[in-house]
Symmetry: C2
Subunit: 317 residues, 2 copies
């Protein structure tokens, strides 16, 4: 058993899955534990902005924890700490060979299994970092300035600056406290960060779709739900046909029954959706809507976790 | 959605699954929440001793949470809080229809799924009540005398008065603190309680086997692991043939591939085992032992959770 525990968030890491991992690594090291923060994929624009703003280095990429896989870093059973996810399908390759010693998460649980008892802190709050701040305090500690900046950014990102229905009063309170430690103006920094994240730069349609894509098994269906936040939905819709053909390719190569591409308008608090696959009726019934040329505008729907996933689960039972 | 949340432990409730449930109900009520403690089966002798000693009423039996089942108490989706377990196979009938809002547990996780984000506090300690004491303190509260007695009893029971390898320094510390509040001599009360629980009275072999029996799916095998604690192993072995035929009946009626009956000697810190089923080779390889006439003495093995289950899981991969 390797003694060092690796801490990481989900694949296609968002700001929470990078920044909470760094903050938990810092806390664990302060407590004298042997841990290392890692990431399961490339950084998105928003996270790049955050790391650059606070001058923090990104965690190293982790490809697999399977000791028998090509490119394996470990020779024995790897200890791992999962942040911001628990479902195997969203986690590192080879997870089934690892010892999960801790989970810190704010999502639903999906077929979660371990071989041993472990530490889990899951709470229905808006962001993993809100739970982390509680754990810091339980240890009579507070994050130092840069790590407070990491945690603040994770909360802003996950709650869309408190606009998401997943946001709880605890998230707001934590963010206010962290903004003070980080020495930033919460509203101004928050908008700058979200707009930086909402710019797609010179990304291809394929890159944009895969920026924040998660897979789910619901009933008999394998469903992909990709989400982007933007201040300019039209920019995406102008290239709708290109997006459709890219989505169609992924449906065919990955065998998805349904692909939901959510384009969330962070100023209007709603989402345009592009929906393809043989199970589009599941989507239509989940949202009581009719797709018009593969698209539907969903007023007020901005949260994959609290709105899209539960609605789709409900009709997939 | 029914507003009241039901709190319960696992089927075949042991002292932890009754007493921690009562203590958590008390805490939740102090916090103004609408909850009710329930139990999923009959009390064992040890738990009867505990409730009698502290003059506490047992929770009401709960048969199912499925709104469509016969004898259903709820008409809509029931909110539930799981204590001391998380695996569906050990939980209430109809769990898949319920909304799990919280889990407090100290076991491994097994195929645990929810539809929504939830609160989970899992820690690798010896007893659920040790976690509960932490939660009490986080709320700036302490259990009152009777509830301290419940929590103390749960810890003594789960750790076999600190002799089990599952026992951690936190369990010992919590028990010492709770014994003071409960106003009992820890060692004396502990031995009285364990001996009361170890007396089988006029129970049938079938009742004894089912006092604390749990089912597991490991690899392709459906495995039953029953455990009793005793100060008199010979009393059971004298009736070995009767136990074997009872176990054989349960193997046939429930389709178990392996049935492990653990008779733990609480004074000698080891267990006699009676093992039947078509997968006895799994047991032999898990414990590097040879069954002699269906039995094996396992020196130092007293914990189903920390010794029997992980060893069997390891060879079932």
């Amino acid at each position: 058993m390797s003694e060092k525990a690796l801490i990481f968030g989900h694949k296609n890491p968002d700001t929470d899955s990078i920044c909470s991992v760094l903050a938990y690594e810092a806390l664990k090291k302060q407590l004298g534990e042997n841990v290392e923060a890692r990431r399961l994929g490339n950084l998105n624009k928003e996270t790049e902005f955050v790391l650059n703003y606070f001058d923090v280095e990104a965690p190293k990429l982790l490809a697999t924890v399977d000791p028998n896989a090509e490119g394996a870093e470990n020779t024995e059973r790897q200890k791992v700490i999962l942040i911001d996810h628990n479902e195997r399908i969203q986690s590192v390759d080879g997870l089934e060979t690892a010892q999960i010693t801790e989970v810190i998460d704010h999502h639903k649980f999906g077929e979660f299994s371990t071989f041993e008892p472990l530490m889990i802190r899951a709470e229905p709050v808006g962001c993993s970092s809100t739970i982390l701040l509680t754990i810091y305090k339980e240890n009579d500690l507070l994050p130092e300035k840069k790590m407070a900046g990491m945690m603040l950014s994770a909360i802003i990102s996950d709650t869309l600056l408190f606009k998401s229905p997943t946001c709880t009063p605890r998230d707001v309170k934590a963010a206010e406290e962290l903004a003070k430690i980080a020495g930033v103006d919460l509203e101004k920094y928050g908008m700058d960060m979200l707009i930086a994240g909402a710019s797609f730069g010179d990304k291809s349609t394929k890159e944009i779709i895969n920026m924040d894509m998660k897979e789910f098994e619901m009933g008999a269906n394998k469903i992909a739900i990709a989400q982007v936040n933007t201040v300019n939905v039209a920019e995406i819709l102008d290239q709708k046909e290109q997006y459709e053909s890219t989505i169609q390719e992924q449906i065919e190569s990955e065998g998805y029954d349904l692909f939901v591409f959510i384009i969330t308008d962070i100023l209007r608090s709603g989402s345009e959706t592009i929906v393809l696959g043989k199970a589009t009726d599941v989507f239509e019934s989940a949202f009581d809507t009719k797709l018009d040329n593969n698209t539907a505008w969903l007023e007020g729907a901005v949260s994959r976790k609290k709105q899209f996933v539960p609605n789709l689960m409900e009709v997939s039972k």
